[in-house]
């Protein structure tokens, strides 16, 4: 049956034959069926009328074989390119893929842990900051005299008691002295004692007030120090958590700094770079420049121009012999693949 794929379509094309089932085995594509579907029947008379005298014959089987071969070559080529090697058995590819997957999974788990650590750390720091903010407000209110703390109350109550006790003692001392003097023969001494008492008691009161203030201040300071110490401890703990997380990230078996940067960006820890796009372009340019340096210096070396002989005339390196063409890849493709 002659086939002319370039023939014009007949006005009444016959209905296409149903495509036969694939034969399996070495056949990858049902070429015969496809040809039958795509082609149109033309009579020899029609061709003669068109001026065609000779017709090239190509059997369906041959077309089938040629197409299959072309497809197989292309598949093999791209498979080899994708694998980076030409003779890698399927089993090895599977094993490597599995290993790669396990490694990536492990990296993911490590990174996720680091992320959790950092998240935890960030939450703790937020809580701490909130506490500090509240404390600061309280302290500020205290300084303004708007808030009476329990501790402050206790302090004041304690001092009041102390003041009352002191007052009692002072009164007792003066009373005793007064009784002694009243029993004597010097009435002016009692009056004098009264004057002394009037002078001494305000002094004692002032001293007590000053002492109370000093005590309150020292009490406040120690409270502040304790609070700061507490916070420093907490911050140290947070820093340790952070360090731990960063250590995990730096020990991660990730390929490049880029990926780490991405993780940091996802965690909100990396500062956004306004020049990010610009830098990317610059890095590409740096790459191109470096490639051209290599290329140009090779060309110069071919001309005998080197650092030792900048004017040329130096030894020309032997031309590199291209390697012999590699044998077609032998990939054990499964039947019908």
């Amino acid at each position: 049956m002659p086939e002319d794929l370039g023939s014009p379509p007949s006005p009444t094309p016959p209905p296409p034959d149903p495509p036969p089932a694939p034969k399996g085995g070495s056949k990858m594509i049902d070429v015969q069926g496809m040809i039958r579907q795509a082609s149109r029947r033309v009579s020899v008379d029609q061709l003669v009328r068109k001026g065609l005298k000779t017709i090239s014959m190509l059997s369906r089987e041959k077309i089938d074989e040629l197409i299959n071969q072309a497809v197989k070559t292309m598949i093999d080529k791209y498979r080899a390119m994708a694998a980076g090697v030409v003779n890698v058995p399927i089993a090895q590819i599977e094993a490597e893929s599995k290993q790669e997957f396990n490694e990536l999974l492990s990296q993911y788990q490590q990174t996720a842990k680091a992320k959790d650590d950092l998240e935890h750390s960030r939450e703790s720091l937020n809580v701490e900051l909130e506490e500090m903010r509240k404390d600061l407000e309280k302290q500020k209110a205290l300084a303004d005299g708007r808030l009476s703390e329990e501790a402050e109350k206790a302090l004041i109550v304690g001092f009041k008691e102390f003041e009352r006790e002191l007052e009692k003692q002072v009164v007792k001392v003066f009373e005793k002295r007064k009784l002694i003097l009243e029993g004597g023969d010097q009435p002016e001494a009692v009056a004098e004692l009264k004057g002394v008492e009037n002078a001494i008691r305000p002094i004692i009161s002032r001293l007590v007030a000053a002492e109370r203030e000093r005590f309150a201040m020292s009490g406040g300071q120690s409270r502040e120090i304790a609070m700061l110490e507490k916070r420093i401890e907490k911050l140290y703990a947070q820093i340790a958590a952070m360090e731990n997380a960063l250590k995990t990230i730096s020990n991660s078996k990730l390929y490049s700094n880029q990926q780490i940067q991405n993780i940091m960006r996802q965690l909100g820890l990396a500062q956004e770079d306004k020049n990010f796009e610009k830098k990317r372009e610059m890095l590409k340019f740096v790459l191109d420049v470096n490639k051209s340096i290599r290329k140009e210096s090779q060309e110069l070396a071919q001309k005998g121009i080197t650092l030792a002989t900048p004017q040329g005339g130096g030894p020309v390196p032997a031309p590199t012999v291209p390697p012999p063409p590699a044998e077609p890849p032998k990939v054990d493709a499964p039947p019908g693949a």
Binding site: K253, Y255, S256, N257, K284, V286, S297
Partner: protein, 356 residues
Amino acid sequence: MSDAAGRTTKEGVLYIGMDLGCYKTSVAATNGTREVVFSIVGWPKDPVSRKLLGKDIVFGNEAFQHRLALETIRPFEKGALKYADNSEAGVPADKLARYKEAAKELVKYVVSLCRPPKGTLVYGVIGSPARASILNKQALMDACKGTFESVMIVSEPFAVAYGMNTLEDALIVDIGAGTTDLCRMHGAIPTEDDQLTTGKAGDFIDNLAMDLIKKAHPEAQFTINMVREAKERGSFVNDVNDKALVTWPNKEGKPTNFDITKELKEACRAIVPDIVQGLRKLVSSYDAEFQRRMLQNVVLAGGGSQLRGLDRLIEDDLQQYGGGKVTKVHEPVFAGANGALKLAADMPEDYWKEVK
């Protein structure tokens, strides 16, 4: 997980930024390493010195200390390999191979200071002067071959700008030992038109100071290293009342005090006109609308930027252009290496594979 060469990459990647200077080399790595060493390599002169040092090759500060017992090479001296050809750098043709070997060994040593764990891939970015030729850049790459898995070269002032995230409307002045590189940053990779290099830098100051001190104090005995040390201790260009006093031996070998304030100041100031001229050139050829903004952002980097008062001196000179603001980078010695490291760390993984 293995790379094309079959080497395991399970230990990860170590990124390194390196500033191979004519006098000092600084390095910064992603594992936190930051080192600066003298760019000098030494081989014991004879079996005696070999036994004394207990090493076949000595680097950096140790080589500098024992330089009398060593055959020393400063592989990048006077711009050798970095930006000059042999004749310009004064490297005899028969010595070039030795210079290249020294450079390779120095790079290896500096990377070893970063202690990359076994199996780690080492990717690096190296700074090169703006005027470096293709051959110079290739020489730097050759020096890195075998030590780095993959390496890229970038312009030194660009690395500084990248490290500081100053990519727009800024003028970077990188004062090294061999060259002073000026670079105009305008939001894109600087081209040749955006960069200038002058040969007046640290070494120029040292040589000039040496000549001036010789004239002023003929009775003093000193070497270029002693002058450099004095400069690093008390270098300034402004008119403050600082004094640079040194105790050097006189002709009889007796330690004597010398006042070298005037000579040092004059030598240090000698690099300023070229810097200011370069800045003027870069600014005047820039878009008029942005000139003022650029003048407000002049950044000094490199070891030479540590000259006290240099920023103010340049600012004074910029007054005729309506004024300018000059700032110094936080870490002048590491600015280049830090920038190179940042570039290395930001570089996508695929790019490294493309230049392996």
